[in-house]
Amino acid sequence: MHIDKHFISIWFFIGSLLVVYGVLILGAGVYEWAAHSPTEVVLANLHVDVWWGAGMLVFGLIYVIRFWPRSDAAK
């Protein structure tokens, strides 16, 4: 495979997806929390979506920064 210097690492794509999903899930969780309209799920008081979304966002950001496409090295 002629992986060239412009090849974007799979880890970057994964990080990007986690960032986007993290923002969406965190946003949905914060909205539910702030609007005091908890969903009907069990243990809704734990606000799992907020913590899970935040975790995905941080994890995704680490991957995005670490594997940001650079022209000086192939992944």
Binding site: L17, V20, L24, I25, V42, V48
Partner: protein, 569 residues
Amino acid sequence: MPAMALWFAAAGARLMSLKPVDLLIIVIYFVLVLGLGLYLRRYASTSEEFFMAGRQMTAWIAGLSFISANLGSLEMMGYAAATYQYGILVAHAYWIAAIPAILFLALVMLPFYYICQTHSVPGYLHLRYGEGARSVSAISFAVMTILMSGINMFSMAIIMKVILGWNIHFSIWVSSLTVAVYVMAGGLLSAIFNEVLQFFLIWIGCLVIPIVGLIETGGWDGMVQRIQQNFPGQDFIHMWSTTGSFAGNPMGVHWTGIVFGWGLAISFGYWTTDFLVVQRVMAAKDLRSAKLGTVIGAFFKMLVPLIVILPGLLGLAVLPFKLVPESMAGPGMHSYNEVLPLMLARYCGPGLLGLGITALVAGFMSGMAGNVSAFATVWTYDIYKPLIRKQASDAHYLSMGRWCSLLGVFVSIGTAYLVMNFSSIIVYAQAVFVFFIVPMFGTVILGMLWKRTTPAAGFWGLLIGILVSLGLWLWVKLDPGALKYIAFSDQAKDMAENIYRAMWSLIANVVATVVITLFTKPKPAHELKGLVYGMTEIPAEGHFPFFKRPITWAIAVAVGFVILNLIFW
């Protein structure tokens, strides 16, 4: 196999409804995989790049792809359902029926696959035994792969209808065409990238269930206590201590069946010779990466019970109603097969629910992509090239691979519609698929480890093994009383029956291969170099510190495997 029972998920009210944020999450996934496929097209411009991803994958990518090719949604939901039915015994599928075989593949078999630079497992059989063995394995594999791909796709559509109320035709066509675009464009590289993506999605999407579930039950002990309250007198939480007799456990299986049928015949057959999974690690950039990637896959395989078995057990503990077999599920009732979606709906609100559903869809799609890419490779290299057009340009074979991927998707769609009208096909296909790969293991391993094994024995041993497995299956279908001879007990459930039948199939294959070998002419020694133990120089892995060597991590995984079995004994 419990996964196939999902097909029978009967119609009923949908289990959950999605909010806009959930739909957005699903749409983003589709856009990303399509974009990835189109982006990777430029990196698949030769046949070697298209079929083998240029053999440039790192250990981590090869390993995660290897394990993701097996981590399909159908399997996840099926094994979670089986856990609700049989208890933690089902975790054997992830431990004894996986870890020893995967480590054996990494340390013993991979060097031979890798050194001979073949493109597929049937390709190895060609080099070792000749055209006959390759043709039997390639044709069976191609037909079964594409059939299973269609069955998986149809099962996904049914599940999406049951869970979300989606239209069956919409689910089949949108998912299939998306897979067609990205596999046709990027080949194995595209399939591998999507499998790695799926690995993350499945873990992040499903890990919420065990975490929140254990909080709800007050930890493991609390969960066990609730299960015992809900199902008094039944043991769902021991893996070995109840297998001293057939009647002592919910599955109706003896430990000998678990060890020799599940842990040896089925497991080694699947993990070491099913090209669908082996292809992933054969695409690694060097032998050390291939071995290390396989060990990485074993490590994560060992952890999968966290997101499959534990949700099944939690279902036994916390669901306010009892699930029933599919055949008994009437209006307002839920079947075993719905346990994973039910647990998802129990703990996941808007956003997280979309993530969980995306994980399931991703699992189905990458499963189909895996089947289609393996089909394209076996068709092009092991059927089209040797039997139909021996001499052609690389561009021709590349083009054949691309069109074959598209054809594979359309045949899968056709299969899905065929299954819709003739549901019994699922039962037949499942039996043939599972028991085709078991005798294949005997043929491959005897060829690798015993230089005397002859080409005639390889061909006839494989054929006899397949015929015996089919014959035993038919025997029980025609005369259910035969079960007590095959599985040693008329109490044996479906899963136990499969386990014992696999064992007999492997024994028949090995005995036939050995006996025929003793009466036929072996290959000359010089033709066995690079193919057989003792005739092959295994290349050194290079000078690496101990913590970068596959053997170190293989030992760590083996120790973890033993400890887990002791903990849940």
